[in-house]
């Protein structure tokens, strides 16, 4: 676990240490309460009826028999959700996705829900609901969906971003374009030009905890929602609007979260649970089954990417162009947009153009998955870089170094970069012992780079000093994997007190101002920025109180090591006042000591990573084994390096799974064939080696401590790094993720057949 701190000049006391997390004991003893671990008095069991069809109109739903079943307390269908007055198309899509309106758009689409006294009764009631469907032609494949004769999923879908707007409906919801320069001229100047198509399968976040919530709405319209979510404030806002409630009267409490990775940024069953509760006037618990999680909660996009790149014989990329088609499920999204923005973001390019097409298909609604849309684009781009380097006889790493973006580069998606980490991660990779380690038979080494924007956004925090001088930092961003420890470290650093004296708490929506989700790698970045401001407000207040006690000017009070010091020789008779001292006298100096901040956290520094991996391929079966894996990434400043490493390792492991085996498999009938962990194959412990990490720290100039988000970038390079390693091991260019054994074997056999025929 290397950590290169040379690039940071500030000396920290708490930040950068590795203490144990404050919520750890509860999590190793079974006490921590997750989504399904909460119960309310009188609670009913909620259950959802889902479509067995990929595409159909709903002719009728008859719930009368189910309603008569003893123990059934409420049934809801789409007609229970009022869409009148809601203008936001995104919210209308959420409602339609939570409960199908006129049509079902995918296998697993919800059509009705029941609240009953127990699971058994709810299950029996679902069987008594009769839904009459009219089957429609479906399309699940991204390239099939854009064909002129494809079944049109939404007849009101006219491609946005095209001028003039087409008069004919299609499955392309939006076209977006990015870039600069003139790619045609760029290709003219190239010595080698390669064009290829790359495809990636649809993967799922695969969090181990299924979505779960307990909803309760009283007759007065006041409600509570206990839910596993990445953003309880956003859930409150959207649920209140959907249910027609006053936002302030709906208290949303985030449970401990059993993984999200983007998948828990979205509403799936929560409005349904609330609607059932409203109708039954009883609390309702609704827990998704694993099968439902796969069938009906948001996976990534499946993609097809046409890419063309040109390079001079000296290794200068002269032009790069790509059309990226991303599925977004049956509703419009901005997934291809993100792919088009991130694709070439690692490189300094004179001529670049990307076009993103959002493609509607009969699959579940696409949702964010860790650096959403970037891994697929990186798979195409980073595979091409390797192939181009090979063609001109240059080392792939040297070509990357030569073309890497740097401070001042105009990025392929528009903005000009500040200080960034792509160059340093590449240099670190070149010097890493992994890069020069010997390879065994049938083994190949691959590398790839990755980029993610990182987000900031609205944040709100409270700092409260207790009477004994210990501090509570209250945040509104949920902790997905160690954020409480990180935020407590930041507060300890800022106040100058030990980590053990700080408690980080995640507030419910009634206790703090609005906070955006824990997404976009923003949790620690944005909440720490706000926490630092809260601390600074409290420190200013404490300096004032010390000045009052000492009867000196506040400007003479210095804050250092958690104490107020009276500055200047004339004041040397005043011994310093600790936070505990000041807290003790708080009643006399103005009441409780607190700090508060509400900010829009701007300037989340962009993040880059370079990965190296060795893969062994069994040439007779296409079986792969990950032999060695190294992650090098810029963290800005690693607040808790152990958890930063954890993010690097976890993202890499998810990328490895996606690269090798994970994929939604649809049958001819448009139904999902593998909605379970047996056949949706996420990596198991024996599939992986140790994942080595190297943290670089190129401070983010926009954050007081230089922090950048670290959560997402690590999933971006693995698809391409593994693709390059497999290609190097087999001497066959892999263009289709996942690189499952049947695909690798078929590619080896196809190559052998074409070699044979060219020998003739």
């Amino acid at each position: 676990m290397g950590k290169d701190t040379l690039l940071t000049d500030r000396v920290f006391k708490s930040v950068g240490t590795r203490p144990m997390r404050p919520d750890g004991i509860d999590k190793v003893t079974g006490r921590a309460r997750y989504g399904a671990d909460h119960n309310m008095s009188g609670q009913l069991h909620g259950s959802i009826l889902r479509s067995p069809h990929a595409h159909a109109s709903i002719k009728s739903i008859d719930t009368s028999k189910a309603e008569k079943l003893k123990g059934v307390k409420a049934i809801v269908t789409a007609k229970d959700f009022k869409t009148k007055g809601i203008t936001d198309p995104g919210l209308l899509d959420i409602i339609d996705n939570c409960m199908a309106g006129k049509k079902v758009f995918y296998d697993g689409h919800a059509v009705a829900a029941v609240a009953a006294v127990d699971a058994k009764t709810a299950k029996a009631a679902l069987k008594l609901i009769k839904v009459e469907y009219k089957l429609l032609k479906h399309v699940t494949d991204v390239d099939e969906a854009v064909k002129p004769k494809a079944p049109v999923i939404n007849n009101k879908c006219f491609t946005k971003g095209v001028d003039p707007t087409p008069g004919k409906a299609s499955n392309v919801a939006k076209r977006s374009e990015f870039g600069h320069g003139n790619v045609a001229e760029g290709f003219e100047a190239a010595d080698v030009v390669i064009e290829r198509n790359f495809k990636t399968g649809q993967s799922h976040q695969g969090y181990i905890e299924p979505h779960a919530c307990v909803a309760s709405i009283g007759p007065d319209g006041a409600g509570e929602l206990w839910v596993c979510t990445q953003g309880h404030f956003v859930f409150r806002q959207q649920c209140a609007e959907i249910l027609g409630l006053d936002e302030a009267k709906l208290k949303v409490t985030s449970s401990e979260i059993g993984g999200g990775f983007g998948g828990k940024t979205h509403l799936w069953v929560e409005p349904v649970a609330l609607a059932l509760s409203q109708k039954a006037n009883r609390p309702v618990k609704l827990v998704m089954s694993r099968e439902d999680v796969f069938r009906a909660s948001g996976p990534t996009s499946a993609t097809s990417i046409d890419i063309k790149m040109g390079v001079t014989k000296d290794g200068v990329i002269t032009a790069a162009e790509a059309e990226l088609r991303y599925t977004s499920g049956p509703y419009a999204g901005s997934w291809a947009t993100l792919g088009a923005m991130t694709a070439f973001a690692c490189y300094d390019l004179k001529n670049v153009k990307t076009v993103g097409l959002e493609v509607l298909v009969n699959r579940p609604k696409t949702t964010a998955y860790r650096a959403p849309s970037a891994p697929m684009a990186a798979f195409a781009v980073e595979s091409m870089i390797d192939e181009l380097a090979d063609r001109i006889g240059m080392k792939a790493i040297d070509m990357r170094i030569q073309n890497a973006a740097k401070e001042g580069t105009k990025s392929s998606y528009g903005p000009v970069y500040g200080p960034i980490g792509i160059g340093p991660t590449l240099d670190a990779a070149k010097n890493h012992p992994h890069m020069s380690a010997p390879l065994g038979p049938n083994q190949g080494r691959g590398m790839a780079c990755g980029f993610w924007f990182n987000f900031g956004g609205q944040s709100c925090t409270d700092l409260n000093i207790s009477s004994d001088g210990t501090a509570t930092i209250t945040v509104g961003t949920i902790d997905v994997g160690g954020a409480r420890a990180s935020l407590a470290l930041v507060v300890a650093e800022e106040l100058g007190i030990p980590y053990e004296q700080v408690k980080a708490v995640i507030a419910d929506t009634g206790s703090l101002g609005y906070n955006e989700m824990t997404d976009g790698s923003r949790g620690t970045f944005a909440s720490s920025m706000s926490a630092i401001q809260s601390c600074r407000m409290a420190i200013a207040d404490m300096r004032q109180r010390a000045a009052t006690l000492w009867e000196i000017d506040v400007d003479e009070v210095v804050w250092e090591n958690g104490q107020a010091w009276a500055g200047g020789e004339s004041n040397s008779n005043h011994p310093p006042l600790s936070i505990a001292d000041l807290a003790k006298s708080a009643e006399k100096t103005g009441g409780p000591i607190a700090g508060h901040a509400q900010i829009v956290a701007d300037g989340a520094g962009v993040s880059f990573a370079t990965h190296i991996c060795d893969i062994e391929v069994d040439p007779e079966t296409g079986q792969t084994r990950v032999v060695r894996y190294t992650v090098i990434q810029d963290a800005g400043k690693a607040v808790h390096p152990t958890y930063v490493e954890g993010q690097f390792q976890g993202g890499a492991a998810q990328g490895i799974g996606w690269a090798l085996n994970e994929e939604y498999i649809y049958g001819e009938d448009g139904r999902l064939q593998n909605p379970g962990f047996l056949d949706y194959r996420i990596p198991v412990c024996s599939d992986l080696p140790m994942i080595d990490t190297q943290i670089l720290e190129i401070p983010n100039p926009n954050h007081p401590y230089g922090i950048r988000g670290v959560g997402e970038t690590s999933i971006v390079p693995p698809l391409a790094a593994i693709g390059n390693a497999v290609s190097n091991a087999t001497q066959v260019r892999m263009t289709h993720v996942p690189m499952s054994p049947p695909r690798i074997l078929a590619a080896i056999h196809a190559q052998a057949a074409s070699d044979d025929s060219s020998d003739d």
Binding site: D118, D679, A746
Partner: protein
């Protein structure tokens, strides 16, 4: 805690009769199986039945748990070989030294079914009666020439393993019948078996293709007896009789191995599905058969 009051509404008749029974004698299990009406299921390890219940694919009226039947709980070594009770977990097979030594391929196959958690529960009798074409232990048992001892209302019958499954999910067992044990023959000198399967992951997977080889060697490494079985390449696990002819007589050389791969490829009647393609299964069946043959040959004392 949530409310648990039962709904006994008329539509839900199965609730009225749903029973969990745990007899202590095989004869009692047979009686219960014979007289029970509706959807009657034998619960051995539960690693298939409970999954199917969870998915709503089966809704039992009667569940007969056989794990408290004494006669089904043990591995016995006798003059004719081993008897493995139907309720013996695969983990227990892995812990049985003599069995492991005599039938390494069978034990390896049994130990490949699922994780350690599954191993603590699953049984080879359950694996057999679940009748999946991809069942791990079945090809190894077929290659080993194992026999299932079936008890029923009309007495006992012994059926070769390859004749138990008749189609995916279907067996030749009749109403009231239950597998009491699986009998493995006595191990001769210079005899060994091996089982290999292909899965995309290292663990927690179902065989995409599998092959079991059981060889007996005579003097100078000459193969005197051979049985080869394949899994997941046809509606049921299959014995490949032609492979016996190819392997018998002579040492295991490249020519034999090539012919074995070809004959195994030819024996495949697989399907394209979420786990693999026809081409993949067919090709890899041959690869695994040759690898398993090498392994069995070396284990039997042959030199490659």
């Amino acid at each position: 805690m949530i409310e648990t009051n039962l709904s006994l509404a008329p539509h839900n008749e199965r609730d009225l009769i749903l029973e969990y029974l745990a007899p202590e004698k095989t004869a009692d299990a047979v009686k219960l199986l014979a007289k029970s009406k509706g959807s009657v299921h034998v619960l051995a390890g539960g690693s298939d039945l409970l999954v199917r219940m969870k998915g709503g694919y089966v809704e039992p009226d009667v569940i007969i748990d056989i794990k408290r039947i004494k006669a089904m709980q043990d591995i016995k070594k006798g003059a004719t070989g081993f008897s493995i009770g139907a309720a013996v977990s695969c983990a227990k097979m892995g812990e049985h030294k003599a069995l492991r030594k005599a039938w390494p391929g069978v034990v390896e196959a049994a130990n490949l079914i699922g994780s350690d958690q599954i191993q603590g529960r699953c049984t080879i009798a359950g694996n057999l009666c679940n009748a999946s074409p991809a069942a791990d232990s079945v090809p190894a048992l077929i290659a080993a020439k194992a026999v299932a001892v079936i008890k029923g209302p009309k007495g006992t019958r012994r059926v070769a393993i390859e004749d138990i499954a008749t189609a995916p999910g279907k067996t030749c067992l009749k109403k009231g019948e239950i597998v009491e044990s699986i009998q493995l023959p006595k191990r001769a000198a210079k005899m060994a078996d091996a089982y290999l399967r292909f899965t995309p992951r290292t663990e927690m997977d179902i065989a995409v293709v599998s092959a079991a080889v059981n060889l007996t060697l005579g003097p100078r490494g000459v193969i005197t007896h051979a049985r080869v079985a394949l899994g997941a390449v046809a509606p049921t696990a299959v014995l490949v009789p032609e492979a016996t002819k190819i392997l018998k007589g002579g040492k295991l050389d490249d020519e034999k191995l090539e012919a074995l791969a070809e004959i195994c490829n030819a024996a495949c009647r697989p399907i394209d599905d979420k786990r693999g393609t026809i081409e993949f299964r067919t090709h890899v069946a041959g690869v695994l058969a040759t690898r398993a043959a090498r392994l069995a040959y070396t284990r039997a004392g042959g030199k490659l």
